[in-house]
Symmetry: C2
Subunit: 493 residues, 2 copies
């Protein structure tokens, strides 16, 4: 099993994904339907996502808090659109402490209703605003069809919740956090994303406007990687989140909420990984480099391990996330295979010759444009002087990070189709290779629904100006009527 | 309200605690019975607890993972003692996705049953051991009487779970993690703790042996601050956690589990805080120092703010958790009051004279033995040269940290009673001031139960050797029979 090759992406992308998640020991199904176990290799990625996003949230003035897991069913019912969106997916607690509860409690599918109930207690006047809060938590949505990381009944996420004095401030916050998500996707996930606005049919249940970042996977499907909602006064009105304004009048606060989840790990896998296994951007890799000592005789072993250990300690003391693989019951080749499968960005090989020459060999997990091209059929190997190792690891990590973003951007661009005006042609594209089809839309939910029914593609977003085509489409690709927006159609996870 | 004084500890310790938690905005009750909202001031303490403990767990070789919130009811029933202990406290999900579930799912009260089910899948041979895992999670135990942080239906915690090849390794792990908890309590919480073993009646449901750290609060009651369990093979046998041993035979693994929770925040409050408000050890204080600029005229304001801002940025850039309070609608006195209530370990005052002299005044939250004694009725104020501010903040933070541990240790020692042999005398002590009564016990649960019934005190632990009296008690204080152990009797949270 361990030595079997992965199904390739070309053979069956979905099987490849499932095998990779299991064999790289990222996560697996639990005995509870739809709920996953996130194993240390996967959870280590989530910890790095958390640490880095959390820092960005704090730098933009947000504080963390924690709100209850359980929400009275009646709270959810207060906002009509909200309950309509979430009611079918609820897990309901009916008994507690051996007794039937007077009112059933639902496990939070999201926490707007609880959090704005609390905000209402804390806000009296405009001086109490803004409230800028975030919570890291588990949530539950009863899903019919689940896939590890991408769609699970329970998942981990962060949900930001804010309250503002004015509509303009709420809109500014909504877009600011969308910007934070975009920066995080680009700078940490090495993933280019389109920012834009969701159509009404894809809007968050209870929001005024939903903005999103959309990424393209290697099978050309889209994945919504994060959303930021301007909730307007929809929740403040039903939860009495009122304040006395500067003019003395009572006003309803303006809310926003925004979230990303463990789904991001699924995105990371489907954007970067290959037929050999997991590929991780170094900034989110729990282990950035693994040292594999190579020796045959006992004498070689003692010389190599001594040097390897010195380099290991040196890297570790400088803050690199590095591992040393001294397992005695495995060949170096088997170790290479395992660490490639597990997505460690670079391997550092040290043998007796390297010790003699005071060099090591670094094998990056992906081919770097910045380094000498490997010989045909060979993998790139970089010869590094031992006394320059720390700098080299830092440089190579940076190059891998950039290369991954470059590769993903190139792939997205080559699978983005613009200038199509014929609906049949769009259908043909979507049924064949897929990708992001930029085309006109009349703004009518009916034409959106027609495309979804006929192609299973949806409008991923109305892209922000910088992503739009230089020549805006004039006609709706579905009806031929005047186009109201240029939108991106794609199948999606 | 904000300016009302807190009830004093002497007047009503319990009311003091509740008022402090609310007014320092640490936590409050939510609309869901027994579930709390942890506000940013409280959650910030939890984040520091997490960060520092997590580092200690990783340094001792543990990895984080995440297991499902929901557990099939049948899993819990597999270990007889375990289900007996937890059944009365369960929250039960009976409906999901609009349908009644075939088997009810319980919200995890603790995760042994789920985690060892998964371990059983991952372990084949002795080479797969040990497994050293930890999870940070929310858990739920339906409590009848709840108090913020101390006993809530939902709480946050970490639960470590390990599997080992031998009984000796499991015992070593159990005691190692107890040692980690003790170090954390002393070094970060500035709280002296007794380490010891629980009697059978206080043992974790399903454990072979439960070890604990016990702290003394300012009302002389004990608080169990952390537990570490040697689970033996109790769970591995019922969850088929077997492995092929070095001799080729199939063997059951040896498990341990260990946890601390948001209860630690309650302990921090009750060990250190005073009638003015919260007192926090600097290492767990979200804000270590707050700068309060003092001025009357606009001219003074501009001079003072410029300097204060420079000092603020300097401290911040050096990694100090520092705040600057520039609110214009509050007097310095009102600010002092607020930050003392909220437990910031030191205040840095800067006025026009200070700017002229290139000094600041630091007011530590508690009186330091290491500094000049304050004049009678006055608080300690330290005059610090601006160019030595960073070093001074670091030094003073260290002095506060040490002083708190010293004060708490002295208080515990003066309320520890040894050498008592008369049961009536013990009853009298427990009914009056309380404290830790060290006395003999015959090892019989019946005598333990009698004391509990008559005094509400329990055996907190059979203390480790270093905490025992130099002369061991020879007789059981309850029955007069030969003492099997020296134990600590105390009322507890």
């Amino acid at each position: 099993m361990a030595d079997e090759k992965l199904t390739t992406r070309a053979q069956d992308f979905s099987a490849w994904y499932n095998e990779l998640v299991e064999r790289a020991q990222l996560a697996e199904h639990s005995p509870v339907r739809g709920c996953m176990v996130i194993r240390p290799n996967g959870y280590g990625i989530w910890e790095l996502i958390q640490q880095n996003l959390d820092k960005m949230f704090k730098e933009t003035g947000h504080e963390n808090a924690y709100f209850p897991l359980l929400i009275p069913e009646s709270f959810l019912k207060k906002e009509a659109a909200h309950v309509e969106g979430f009611a079918p997916e609820l897990a309901v607690v009916t008994h507690g402490g051996g007794k039937e509860l007077e009112e059933p409690l639902v496990i939070r599918p999201t926490s707007e209703t609880m959090i704005y109930t609390m905000f209402a207690k804390w806000v009296q006047g405009y001086r109490d605003l803004p409230i800028l809060m975030n919570q890291w938590a588990n949530v539950m949505r009863w899903e019919m069809r689940t896939r590890l990381f991408l769609r699970t009944t329970e998942f981990l996420w962060q949900e930001g919740h804010t309250a503002h004095e004015t509509e303009a401030e709420a809109e500014e916050e909504t877009l600011k956090m969308l910007g934070v998500y975009r920066s995080f996707a680009e700078d940490f996930m090495a993933t280019p994303v389109i920012t834009g606005r969701k159509t009404d049919s894809e809007r968050f249940a209870g929001a005024l406007r939903t903005y999103c970042i959309e990424a393209m996977m290697q099978d050309n499907k889209a994945l919504q990687a994060g959303t930021s909602h301007n909730l307007g006064q929809n929740f403040s009105k039903v939860f009495n989140l009122e304040f006395q304004g500067r003019d003395g009048s009572m006003q309803y606060a303006w809310n926003t909420s925004w979230g990303v989840s463990t789904r991001l790990i699924g995105s990371l896998i489907m954007v970067h990984s290959d037929d050999t296994g997991l590929v991780l951007p170094p900034r989110l890799a729990p282990t950035v480099a693994v040292i594999v000592p190579i020796y045959k005789t006992d004498e070689e072993k003692s010389i190599v391990l001594e040097t390897a250990d010195r380099l290991f300690k040196d890297l570790k003391s400088k803050g690199f996330r590095v591992k040393m693989d001294t397992r005695d019951n495995m060949s170096p080749g088997a170790k290479y295979y395992e660490w490639e499968l597990k997505g460690v960005p670079m391997r550092i090989e040290i043998g007796p010759k390297d010790v003699a020459n005071s060099t090591v060999v670094i094998a990056p997990r992906i081919t770097l444009d910045t380094r000498e091209e490997p010989k045909p059929g060979k993998k790139q190997k970089l010869f590094i002087a031992m006394d320059a190792l720390c700098d080299a690891v830092e440089d190579i990590a940076g190059e891998i990070q950039s290369q991954l973003l470059k590769n993903a951007t190139a792939r997205r661009e080559s699978n983005s189709i613009r200038g199509i005006t014929d609906y049949e042609q769009m259908k043909e594209i979507l049924s064949r290779d897929g990708g992001f089809v930029y085309a006109g839309w009349n703004g009518d939910p009916a034409s959106e629904a027609k495309v979804k029914e006929e192609t299973r593609a949806t409008i991923r977003c109305i892209p922000d100006a910088e992503f739009r085509s230089t020549t805006a489409p004039t006609k709706c690709i579905v009806t031929g009527e005047a186009a109201k927006y240029e939108v991106i159609w794609s199948k999606a996870y």
